[in-house]
Symmetry: C7
Subunit: 95 residues, 7 copies
């Protein structure tokens, strides 16, 4: 099963908040804060302008993106956590 | 009796919050949270643009959709609970 | 006397919140909640677009409609209670 | 002296909240609530659209109108109370 | 010195809240309320529409106008109090 | 060093809140209130309309302007206090 | 790794809040306030207008800019703090 975002929405797989330490343990880098970085896994067809045209979306599947702390709605797909957010809530692409 | 949603509204039958256990009992998977997944059962004709045209709606009858926790207004049709929501409050389609 | 709603407004006669019991008594089905279902008794000429055109209204006199809990303003016409609401506050038509 | 409302504003003479009883006394029908019914005594030239055209107003001098409980600003003209309200705050015309 | 209001702003000289009594004393007619009536002493060139045109203003120098209780910003010009308000905050012209 | 305001922003040097008394002392005329009068020292190129044109700004370098009590953001340039405000927050020009 | 801001967003490297004293110590100039001055290190392609055109951005890489106290979202790139802000949140360019 997969999700097809609607309009100007984008499906993002957030980075894990855990990092493997040298000793092999997983620890949360910052338990207080949710990650603000993730990978785009699906992109909507774009928002409809008032004249009925689709406005293109600036991110593409596979992009590593930076987004706001409160960006997006959490959804679970096949047991994994994803975020569905509007393209405009994505701040930047890592290059 | 059935409902014809108006404008950019969509009628959604939310998934049951109950799941049958092996022993046959129905239990709520998460009593605190309402389901955010359902099936589209009726779609409006689309919102009127300021120039008088209908803007098409991206979901269709039969689509399984994901929507926000606070999306939609509850209505009872023939004793069953439905949600009437704006098409833009639907985040994604399951495929 | 009758009311002609203005612009995109619609006059709705809400369903009675009372139902006659077998013993003949009228009881409110749900004293806490106002009905969200009613019949359209008058429809405005439509909202003026910025270019001066009337945008058509999707409901017609006689339609049974579903509307929001907080939709509309109560008015009394000839001693009976009606609601004056904007057409966009009507969610759906019963068919 | 008279008032010429500006733009999409309308001058309304609210109904008296008092009614003469058979015995000749004047009593307020509902001391808690201001009247929501009145007569249009002057109408503005209409709001300017962004393209510089006047958008017509749907009420005319002499119309008996129904308006919201919180509609309009009170003004005193020649010692009498009037309401200056935007045309869109008028819900309906009595016919 | 004089003030030239900008855009859709208008300079208004509010009526004095004081009235001379027969005995020659000045008393405030209503100490609680600021006057809502004044004379237009200067008018801006009009707001720029998005297409770069000026939208005309409906009041002119010398008009006696009625405005809202909270309309405008107080400014002192040559020691006297004036109000600078947007033309849309003026409700009506006295005739 | 100087500042070039962006878009519809204007750089204003506020009047000093202090006045020299005859005895040569500087006293604040009104310690509670910030000055609302100043001189325009730089003007942006104008806001971009949705069609990509610059909308002209009605104030020019050297104008003495009146602005709102809460208008603008304080910035320090070469140790002196200035205000950066949107052109629309300027009410009038002194002439 | 570097960041490509999206739409009308701009990546800014804020000035250090610390200054080296003559004795070689770093002290914060004002511990209460974040710097409001920085250097533009990356600029988005511009916001899409409703007609699908990109609206140009008035700042360029290398510009020293002044921005609001609450402008932008903090992001860490290669261990250093940056701000991602909308171009309109930048007030002025230092020249």
């Amino acid at each position: 099963m997969s999700l097809k975002p609607l309009g100007d929405r984008v499906l993002v797989k957030p980075d894990e908040a855990e990092h493997k330490t040298k000793s092999g343990l997983y620890i949360a880098s910052n338990a207080q804060e949710k990650p603000q970085r993730g990978e785009v896994v699906a992109v909507g067809a774009g928002k409809l302008s008032d004249s009925g045209d689709r406005l293109p979306i600036d991110v593409h599947v596979g992009d590593t993106v930076i987004y706001g702390k409160f960006g997006g709605n959490e959804v679970k797909v096949n047991g994994e956590d994803y975020l569905l957010m509007r393209a405009d809530d994505i701040y930047a692409i890592e290059e």
